[in-house]
């Protein structure tokens, strides 16, 4: 193990390390802690320029309550879920199939199709922006949740295929060959042999895509406008316009917008990290 395990070092260094950990963490999360403190302060503290002092009273419930009852925030949050969940299902389903095809079968075009997905996943969004917006307009899906979901599914399929294909490549191929010898149809091999083995990959991708899509801002701005279809990342700018200079409310709003992916991460941590390393670092 590197660096030298702390148990094998001198006592003073052990104590220093134990003390250093929380200090480093607080410094690292300082900007976020500041916002968290802002979000429970009363309005008066900002009027009196008491920005960094201790809150004169705890107004957490009032502030967060106002975010949920006095603004469009609940609607934006709901939109975010309505966009994120179908995208996760769609992209994971499509990429289970493409990943299976590219991971199991040997044919000439295999690697080129794989590279098409990988390369497409890396292109700048701007090269797609005008045509995709135009396409969505023509299909009558501009400013709808469906329009945004369809694009997200298509784009995320690139990354998901990369991930699934690498995962399936690492599965024991003998299982599939044994099934073929038994004369089992190919689609049944997919459904009964490969898919059950893909559960960890499906879990990892789902959490990852959930956070990616939840946090998307660019496409939300390009393909939607207004309360009826915008997700919370885009909605927060209107929210902040509504509560201009009310820092306690803007802070509370930001924290509310950030919580779902954070909760997802803490619940599914192991899968999340497996997903981030693209399966390349084990």
């Amino acid at each position: 193990m590197f660096p030298t395990p702390i148990e094998r070092t001198s006592r003073p260094w052990q104590l220093t390390y134990q003390a250093l950990l929380p200090v480093a963490l607080i410094l690292w999360l300082l900007p976020l802690l500041a916002v968290a403190i802002f979000s429970v302060k009363p309005d008066a503290d900002f009027a009196n320029a008491n920005y960094w002092g201790w809150p004169t009273s705890f107004e957490g419930f009032a502030n967060y309550g106002l975010v949920f009852t006095g603004s469009d925030m609940p609607h934006y949050l709901l939109n975010s879920f309505k966009i994120t969940i179908p995208t996760v299902i769609g992209a994971v389903a499509l990429s289970c199939m493409t990943g299976f095809a590219l991971g199991v079968y040997k044919f000439k075009a295999n690697i080129w199709i794989f590279f098409m997905f990988v390369a497409g996943n890396f292109v700048p969004f701007q090269i797609l922006m005008v045509p995709v917006r135009d396409l969505t307009l023509q299909m009558g899906l501009y400013n709808t949740i469906t329009g945004l979901v369809l694009f997200h599914i298509a784009f995320q399929t690139g990354f998901c295929t990369l991930f699934m294909r690498n995962f399936i490549r690492a599965l024991p191929f003998e299982l599939i060959e044994a099934a073929r010898v038994e004369g089992i149809a190919e689609w049944r091999i997919f459904w009964f042999v490969v898919l059950p083995l893909m559960k960890p990959a499906i879990a990892a991708l789902s959490v990852l895509i959930f956070t990616f899509i939840w946090n998307d801002y660019f496409w939300a701005v390009v393909l939607t406008q207004g309360v009826e279809s915008q997700p919370v990342t885009a909605g927060i700018t209107s929210f902040n316009a509504q509560f201009r200079a009310a820092y306690h409310l803007m802070s509370a709003g930001s924290i509310v917008a950030a919580i779902p992916p954070v909760a997802m991460f803490f619940l599914m941590q192991k899968h999340f990290i497996a997903g981030l390393t693209l399966g390349a670092v084990k």
Binding site: M1, F2, P5, I6, E7, L21, L25, L29, L30, L32, V35, W52, L94, M97, T98, F100, A101, L102, Y105, I111, V118, A119, G120, F122, V123, P124, F125, Q126, I127, L128, M129, V130, P131, V132, D134, L135, I153, A154, F155, G158, T161, F190, W214, N215, F218, V221, V222, I236, T237, N240, S251, A257, A258, P261, V262, I273, L276, T277, V281, K282
Partner: protein
């Protein structure tokens, strides 16, 4: 009856013979169609569109390479391009910074798992929120930055209002989640480092920096490769932070190509789709150089297997 059975037997044997050739295409079809429709074709459409003058509504007018000629004389384009280079270079700091934090946290004391998760926190949060948080952090009237600067006796700064500092200020905000990403890549990588090589290195008297550079870093190559890929892509995709923190200002000095393209094509400055497309093409070509390199590395690895 017998004939029908024969036909069926013939069909099933045809399917039986060819099923291994056909099945992959059936499985690929929906994914490929979606991807062609929404990703691959639009790339070519943008190339085509960059040869037109179009407001998004009326008839598009063919202007040849005029948009590119205009780009050549456009100061805002060079500002954006220059900022893209600054982003690319400074953003790479996330890689050593991530490695450093990963080494710091690669211990087995109680509660270390929670520490690792909390250090990773910034990456999970939306860039929109990161942008807001840092805008307040830099705020000249109440921002924490000036409180800190004042405490150590330095004069206050208005980072986001200063042409010389604004891009660096936004990049620092971007480095916060990106460093967390690189950290997690390296933490996973460090788990896979071969303990025998470390012991062998210790016996040979290697320690500290020499150990890190000659024994650990070479074994972290896969993690470093992914860290490079995601950091470069992230640097060239920077849009959210700029849009939230400065909206390109002051006086357009914090624009990058991705933001300038959006501004030209879809904002109150006008709907110049063709001109926007030509900016997107330039950005795409820059990215293509990196994509080609990544694919080439992957190709070599595939061949080696």
């Amino acid at each position: 009856m017998a004939q029908a059975q024969a036909v069926q037997a013939h069909q099933s044997s045809w399917w039986h013979k060819n099923q291994q050739q056909i099945t992959p295409w059936l499985f690929l079809a929906p994914g490929i169609l979606f991807f062609l429709f929404y990703v691959i074709f639009p790339i070519f459409q943008s190339f085509n569109l960059s040869l037109y003058e179009w407001d998004g509504l009326g008839k598009a007018e063919f202007v040849g390479l005029y948009n590119y000629e205009e780009l050549y004389w456009d100061d805002a384009f060079y500002t954006s391009l220059n900022n893209n280079v600054v982003w690319l270079v400074l953003y790479l700091a996330a890689i050593p910074a991530g490695l450093f934090i990963a080494l710091f946290l690669n211990q087995t004391v109680t509660g270390i798992r929670l520490y690792k998760s909390l250090f990773f926190f910034p990456f999970v949060i939306s860039q929109v929120v990161v942008g807001l948080v840092f805008t307040w952090f830099y705020d000249p009237t109440f921002g924490l930055l000036n409180v800190v600067l004042g405490a150590v006796g330095l004069p206050p700064m208005n980072i986001l209002g200063d042409e010389n500092w604004v891009t660096v200020g936004i990049i620092v905000a971007g480095l916060w989640p990106q460093t967390a990403y690189c950290m997690i890549l390296y933490l996973t990588g460090l788990n896979a480092v071969d303990p025998e090589q470390i012991e062998a290195g210790r016996l040979d008297g290697a320690k500290g920096w020499r150990m890190l550079w000659y024994i650990i870093v070479p074994q972290l190559r896969p993690a470093t490769f992914i860290a490079f890929v995601v950091t470069i892509i992230g640097a060239l995709r920077s849009f959210d932070l700029i849009s939230i923190m400065t909206n390109g200002g002051p006086f357009g000095t914090s624009r990058v190509l991705s933001f300038y393209m959006f501004e030209v094509a879809l904002s109150e400055y006008g709907f110049r789709m063709g001109y926007g497309a030509s900016i997107a093409v330039v950005l795409f070509l820059i990215m293509l150089a990196f994509i080609a390199y990544f694919l080439w590395s992957m190709y070599k690895e595939e061949k080696a297997r």
